[in-house]
């Protein structure tokens, strides 16, 4: 067998159509090892993503029956603070009176609340600038020039719909996904 090979292919190293058998094997072997190595890294990276138990706590139920108009409650959702604000009729009217197209992040009050539940403004209590918690939830706190929230870190002013009106924050306060399961209970996340 060895002798036969020698006769037909005087040397396996000789180029055949410009490709040496050894080059092909080398590239094939190194490619398989390389692709395999990269694939092996994927689970090593992915293991640092939020685990199933963290994601399982991603939705909460809140009972709103005790929240009076004008009152704001703070809760936590996905380990982040959350504002749930019961807007007064005046605050709703004020939010609706604004010219949406003139805003930095144009959204109407209706865009930011659930249909039929416009009095409930639910937003993350995380300033979209650099992540501080804005003031304006507890009684007596500075609500800012537009009567909503005011972030003391770098002076962002939010209005009664949680929209950015003045200061460095680029976007409105984030409104999470939520759904009213009855008139007074809401499932967030």
């Amino acid at each position: 067998m060895a002798t036969e090979d020698h006769v037909e292919q005087p040397a396996a190293d000789q180029p055949e159509g410009g490709v040496r058998r050894r080059d092909f094997l080398n590239i094939a072997a190194v490619s398989v090892a390389g692709v395999g190595g990269v694939i092996a890294i994927l689970p090593l990276v992915n293991q640092m993503n939020p685990s199933a138990d963290v994601l399982a706590l991603a939705s909460i139920d809140v009972d709103l029956s005790a929240v009076e108009p004008g009152q704001t409650i703070k809760t936590t959702w996905r380990k982040q603070p959350l504002f749930i604000r019961h807007l007064t009729a005046d605050e709703i009217a004020e939010a609706r009176a604004v010219d949406v197209s003139a805003l930095r992040d144009p959204q109407s009050l209706e865009d930011r609340t659930a249909e039929g539940h416009e009095q409930w403004l639910i937003s993350l209590a995380v300033c979209t600038h650099l992540g501080c918690i804005p003031l304006g939830a507890a009684p007596g706190e500075n609500k800012g020039e537009y009567g909503g929230y005011f972030c003391p870190c770098h002076g962002s002013h939010y209005d009664t719909a949680g929209r950015i009106r003045k200061g460095p924050a680029p976007t409105n306060l984030v409104v999470p996904e939520y759904e009213f399961t009855s008139d007074t209970t809401v499932t967030i996340g």
Binding site: A2, V7, A29, P43, N46, Q47, S51, A52
Partner: protein, 426 residues
Amino acid sequence: MSFPWAEQYTPKNPFMKWMDERLPLPRLVYNSVGAGYPVPRNLNYFWNFGVLAGLALVIQIVTGVVLAMHYAANSEIAFASVEHIMRDVNSGWLMRYLHANGASFFFIVVYIHIFRGLYFGSYKAPREMVWLLGLVIFLLMMATAFMGYVLPWGQMSFWGAQVITGLFAAIPLVGETVQQWLLGGFAPDNAALNRFFSLHYLLPFVIAGCIILHIWALHLPGSNNPTGIDVKGPQDTIPFHPYYTAKDGFGAGVFLIALSIMVFFAPNFLGHADNYIEANPLSTPAHIVPEWYLLPFYAILRAFTVDFLLPAKLWGVLAMFGSILLLFFLPWLDKSPVRSGKYRPQFKIWFWVLVVDVLVLGYCGGAPAEEPYVMISQVAAMYYFAHFLIILPLISRTERPLPLPNSITEAVLGKDKSTAQPVAAE
């Protein structure tokens, strides 16, 4: 640290030249596992297992670091945190099964590596230090594996910790004090779990350091080879790269396939179901055994059942530690100047008897402590010591070795004429 005909490292790229004068790391790699390290041309596949052991250590460290990101070393929640890894953490099951089976594979390749050394006389001059460092690594591995097995805080973890630390209680006078010091209490608990976790994280890096010394000591005389005879000239060697990098790469592929088969199709085959029950200090499992790789030593421990001058318990502990310490004296117990078992007709037979003996010990270590296994363990343990203390010294004096080939090249090419003279064959 090589043969004079080794390829010289000559960087051509200006950056590599600049680098070579400041931090000659590429030169070190080139001279250690590159073209600058000449290796006997006749190494067989048993010489893959050193590199495979290194690969196994890398897998253990990588998966271990990942597991430590999710594990909690607290006796209240350790068991739950392991289940959290198995169920909640992304790919956590893969990391844990790789780590658990990786430990077994590490021992498999190291045992083959050790028996390779025993058969081909790799422990003899001038490689005694390689052998001694290898034994240190083996001891560190056993300590690391034992402590790692405690971490899931299952029933086998707990009772393993109880039994192994109980070995130290056999030391006369200070035994109990030593055991309490090791555990940080009167029984395995949070203190023991925490220190075991700390040391389980530390020791693999100590092992890595010992491996560097092991390789350093090896590269002074260079690798042994299946004939056991010294390299005589350039015709006896080939460069490590590409020849042995390719051969080791192939071996690594086979190793990874075997590991994958275990991880994906039989991940708990080598484990114990009892370790999926949380540790309970009030109930011992009916049949308590260590992991398979410690079974031969466990059999020696249990082989002593009668008090003779010393308590039987102490004899068992002494014999178990002695069975490993004995190996440190092996280079001076076997005085035969011939290294490879290939040319030692007597030694070859006894070598295989030893292999069978260790397998028998392993089987008895996993069997219940009752007859006939106790008696078989006693006979097998006796043979183990007799092999190293009586048989090897004796046959190294009386045996008449087969004639050795004049050189590695002659041994290799004499075997197959067609490759020796390809021109003539044509």
